[in-house]
Symmetry: C2
């Protein structure tokens, strides 16, 4: 695995469309994200279908867990996910339970930092050294306010970092320099591209050009 | 409709079990909540199945929306829900979009106050006069910390109030006196009772005894 990779985020489509799209770009992306909208529309069938279609691929289930951590982790891991997401703005105990459940299952967990305060971020960073931290500008924030990625950089002390939300040619270079992310989460600008592979290559070039 | 009612929360079971359970108590509860765990496990099929089984009943889909508000609201309302939930600890823009989408659909929205600060609660209270506000101690908080319902009462100025999490004979009376809730959300202590109807009647008696 490269020291960084693209996570393909699949949302607002049905399972068949998502699988067909993924088949076109499978070789060019690191992880596949089964988006929250697929999970809420189709349930764990979405994860199982991806596990069947891509037996060897790392699958992230964007569960956005904010309660009932153990149960929801079990749902996702049993269905074939390798990574689950948990909301950093929710109760700390829920993040703790996701962490424990993921560790016991030898799987990964990503803490979505959407709408977290700097204080929450520091606590999460220091409490969960094995988490992946996702700095995230949400769809609603992007679409309604025109915001793209914003980073209030608390200093991540070598933690694994993912970035999501409005990543483009303009916003990416400073993010790369500042945060050295491992995971670049990209959705509609790949899935809605006329040529998804070309879109991925453009991102990869930008990332490569700004590595150090 | 009474001035208060019980919302039956269904979680950690399959759709058939949930429908069977609901059929036993339908007459004794106000709203039916299709829990987050049913939604994430079975998708919108869970909501559609309940709409078919209970054509006249108010259905709340516990979507716990925290992004992609319009899309997720549309999923739930199209499937037959009358009420959706949105997380108050998420971005305000998402709550705003849920409010708009629910109003346009002539449906209701509930703001889940899990892990919100007093400052966030005051802002939400003053921004969304037509919301239902759910004061909520989560499953993970109850099961792991033994916490039951806690209220930091900001003064709700006549807003519609729901309460959820560890409601029992001991915790209910002061909650009723302090918050005058309209909606009492009760899950496992009904669904796991040997006699669910008797369990509901006990709750109704406690509520009645503490009304003013």
């Amino acid at each position: 695995m490269d020291k960084y990779f693209i996570q393909l985020a699949l949302d607002r489509m049905n399972i068949e469309e998502a699988i067909r799209l993924t088949q076109k770009v499978e070789e060019n992306v690191g992880w596949i994200e089964i988006g929250t909208s697929l999970i809420k529309e189709f349930g764990m069938k979405s994860v199982r279908s991806f596990r069947n279609a891509f037996p060897e691929k790392m699958l992230l289930a964007d569960m956005k867990i904010i309660d009932n951590a153990r149960y929801e982790c079990d749902l996702a891991f049993t269905a074939g996910a390798n990574v689950v997401t948990v909301m950093g703005c929710g109760p700390l105990i829920t993040v703790q339970l996701v962490a424990e459940t993921a560790r016991n299952a030898n799987q990964n967990f990503m803490i979505d930092l959407l709408n977290t305060t700097e204080k929450q971020q520091i606590l999460l960073r220091d409490t969960f050294p094995d988490a992946i931290f996702c700095l995230h500008t949400s769809k609603d924030q992007q679409e309604r306010t025109g915001d793209t990625f914003r980073s209030n950089d608390i200093g991540w002390n070598g933690r694994r970092i993912a970035v999501a939300g409005g990543l483009n040619e303009e916003t990416l270079p400073p993010i790369i320099v500042q945060l050295r992310p491992e995971i670049f989460i990209i959705g509609s600008s790949i899935t809605k591209a006329t040529n998804p592979v070309a879109a991925i290559r453009t991102y990869q070039q930008i990332i490569k050009d700004n590595q150090f």
